[in-house]
């Protein structure tokens, strides 16, 4: 009978083990806060999962690892699932040693307490323009640095403009006139992205900012004027109403196909544009309301951060990697290879002279503004309001002024 008793015990322990299964499953991923021995490996998570970025970033990371005497274990995830992954890792305490974030997400993640301030590791934040620093700053502390940045500008098809006898527009009136003149048949004067995502908001920001619009309160005359311009362009037929559903990649496709004579887009499209030997294009600043205004672009790019993993030795090594990614040499090399702009202002002159195609972008990023500079963690909310107002105005559901007022009130 003894055996029966032990069997029941065995059953009981099996049941207990089963009940504990979820705990074990979630627990086994947690990294043990190991003794601060020599660090030989660092984990890295980023979203550069497409070529050529994947290899360029991977090689730079590997070189930085070698320099610091560690091997890099890198994982690339699709851009859309990065934040979900980071949140999941934050809750299971399995954050990587080095983490890349899109700059508007930085404050959101820094706000959770999951990141370590870079000043803790004595990483220099000198020579970075204010806009770039503010993108990486949360509550007065710098948590992330972007080696290279980007912004958007106006691309124009040289052949189409010459044929129509149009010079690249500098002001809103010139833009409207040029776009109208360049519209005929299946060809539109201008293409931009006004879709119902943050991308639509991002494309609208330069128009809003250069006119003195304020992202905290969008129900203002300045922002209304900018939205009125977009509405006029769509209603007059100079911009296809398809803009309401286009992504920036679609906008580029329209431009490449000659269906749009001008487009609002970023330097990351340059490799594709250069592949089209028949396409001759130029880049100018996004037009401003009148010559008294200056162009202000939104700042794009990814920042590198050091998450709070609890392992001081690994964090120190991780900080070395972040510093190395931001070294002058690496900034210049990655910017050139990826058609982006080195973030340090001290490198701008050299970079612009070596890469004339990116010269106008180099000039623009000096004054570019971060989306989260003012809004911080409120960016997702306010960005949603902005694209909602854009969509309502462009579909004629409300006048630009009303659309902005309704959106601001929520």
């Amino acid at each position: 009978m003894k055996s029966a008793f032990t069997k029941t015990k065995a059953i009981a322990s099996t049941v207990t083990a089963m009940a504990a299964l979820p705990l074990i499953l979630t627990g086994c991923g947690a990294s043990s806060p190991a003794a601060n021995g020599p660090v030989s490996e660092l984990s890295v998570v980023d979203y550069y999962n497409n070529e050529p970025d994947k290899t360029i970033i991977g090689d730079t990371l590997a070189a930085c690892g070698t320099q610091s005497g560690v091997t890099i274990k890198r994982e690339t995830v699709p851009g859309k699932s990065l934040i979900a992954k980071v949140l999941q890792q934050a809750s299971s305490k399995t954050l990587p040693d080095v983490l890349m974030l899109d700059n508007p997400d930085l404050q959101q993640i820094a706000g959770t307490g999951a990141l370590a301030p870079l000043t803790d590791f004595k990483i220099s934040t000198e020579n970075y323009p204010q806009g770039i620093l503010s993108a990486g700053t949360y509550k007065d502390k710098v948590y992330g640095l972007a080696p290279t940045v980007n912004t958007i500008a106006l691309f124009y098809n040289k052949d189409l403009l010459t044929t129509a006898g149009v010079t690249p527009p500098k002001t809103w009136d010139e833009l409207k006139a040029a776009a109208a003149k360049l519209t005929s048949g299946g060809q539109y004067g201008l293409a931009f992205d006004a879709n119902a995502t943050y991308e639509g908001t991002w494309q609208f920001l330069p128009f809003m900012w250069s006119n003195g619009g304020d992202e905290k309160n969008i129900a203002t005359t300045e922002t209304t004027e900018a939205l009125q311009l977009w509405t006029d362009l769509v209603k007059s037929g100079s911009v296809s109403s398809s803009a309401l559903n286009w992504t920036q990649a679609d906008v580029k496709d329209q431009f490449v196909a000659g269906k749009a004579a001008m487009m609002v887009n970023g330097p990351w499209q340059i490799p594709t544009l250069d592949k089209e030997s028949a396409l001759h294009y130029g880049v100018v600043n996004i037009p401003v309301k009148d010559s008294s205004k200056t162009a202000v672009g939104p700042l794009g790019g990814e920042v590198w951060t050091v998450p709070q993993t609890g392992n001081k030795a690994k964090q120190a090594k991780a900080a070395e990697i972040v510093a190395c990614m931001n070294s002058d040499v690496n900034q210049l090399a990655m910017a050139k290879a990826r058609n982006t702009i080195p973030s340090k202002s001290t490198l701008a002159a050299q970079f612009a002279s070596e890469n004339p195609k990116l010269a106008s972008f180099t000039e623009l990023v000096k004054t570019a503004r971060a989306r989260t500079g003012q809004l911080g963690e409120d960016w997702p909310d306010q960005a949603t309001k902005i694209f909602t107002a854009i969509q309502n105005a462009l579909t004629d559901k409300a006048s630009p002024a009303d659309a902005l007022k309704q959106a601001q009130q929520g």
């Binding site: 089963m18 959101q108 959770t112 879709n195 969509q391 579909t395």
Partner: protein
């Protein structure tokens, strides 16, 4: 695992038989334990993969659950505040109406076309088998791929559909299928019908196969052919299958997310925003996980109503 349990069971049985003495450990209660052991894997699976997410989601909807919660674990209880916020938002009624229109339109289209095709394929004709398997294609394609292709087909300026209509001379300028507030929902419903037809055809065709040919022969002797045979033989015999198709269809359609995100992202001007897309946007774009969970639970409740309806319809069928 079941093999060892079985041998143990066998062992236990022989032991009791040999023992003969007073049963210290009752055979019955031991059998109970074994019964539970057989159940344990299924129960564990249900609790882990269905129970936990549902309970967690309900709990989340009563909490202020933000990005910070994931790191700190702090999520203060806020009662019904999340429900009040999402239901009083100006978008809620739009989303609710769109969800109803989207579901009703999709189900009606999928079912009528699906039934028509199922009846059609019941006839014997050359290439029947090949055509029927080709019909499954929309089901086999990943939704992301289908929505990307349809987005291109429905494009206003260079889309295949508008080009086709223009070449026929039906229209002179492109129709903004996905960018007009009055057409976008209908276009999205159309794509969803296309995706849902294979499911309807497959299940209904299976149901049709189960109807004995003798019934049709008898009906034709009584003069019922064609439409009358459908009305008096096919339809009554098919009803149990129809109710399954419809209820499953409603539940599947209510939660459709990827197709809408791929085609319009809820736009233009929220005209294709549904409860499902709103829940997704709140959680994963605005990082308001509590509100997103509340919205998700509202959707679960709506689905539940249909599930209960389905069970009642089924019970009545059995009673009859």
């Amino acid at each position: 695992m079941s093999a060892t349990v079985q041998s143990r069971l066998h062992l236990a049985v022989t032991e009791t038989e040999n023992d003969g003495g007073p049963r210290r450990f009752g055979y019955r209660s031991r059998e109970r334990v074994y019964q539970w052991l057989f159940l344990a894997p299924a129960v564990a699976y249900l609790v882990l993969f269905f129970g936990y997410p549902v309970v967690k989601n309900v709990a989340m909807s009563f909490q202020e659950y933000t990005t910070g919660t994931f790191y700190t674990g702090e999520a203060p209880w806020v009662g019904f505040a999340n429900y009040v916020t999402v239901m009083s938002s100006s978008l809620f009624s739009t989303s609710l109406i769109n969800t109803a229109l989207f579901t009703a339109g999709s189900i009606a289209g999928q079912f009528i076309l699906g039934l028509g095709l199922a009846v059609f394929f019941k006839r014997k004709f050359p290439l029947n088998g090949i055509l029927r398997s080709l019909l499954l294609l929309p089901w086999l394609l990943p939704l992301i791929v289908s929505s990307a292709v349809w987005r291109w087909i429905l494009d206003k300026d260079s889309g295949a559909l508008n080009n086709f209509l223009e070449s026929l001379g039906i229209i002179s300028t492109g129709i903004p299928w996905l960018t007009s507030t009055s057409l976008a929902l209908a276009a999205v419903v159309g794509v969803n019908i296309w995706i849902g037809i294979p499911f309807n055809v497959t299940v209904l065709y299976g149901g049709l196969q189960d109807i004995p040919d003798e019934l049709y022969e008898a009906a034709s002797l009584d003069g019922a052919t064609g439409w009358r045979a459908f009305r008096h033989v096919t339809w009554p015999m098919l009803r149990p299958v129809v109710s399954v198709v419809l209820v499953l269809g409603v539940v599947y359609t209510l939660k459709v997310l990827d197709i809408i995100l791929g085609l319009t992202n809820g736009g233009p001007a929220n005209s294709t925003q549904t409860i499902a897309t709103q829940s997704y946007a709140l959680s994963f774009q605005n990082f308001k996980f509590g509100e997103g969970a509340a919205m998700g639970n509202i959707l679960v409740l709506i689905s539940l109503v249909f599930a209960v309806l389905y069970l009642r319809v089924n019970r009545r069928a059995v009673d009859e």
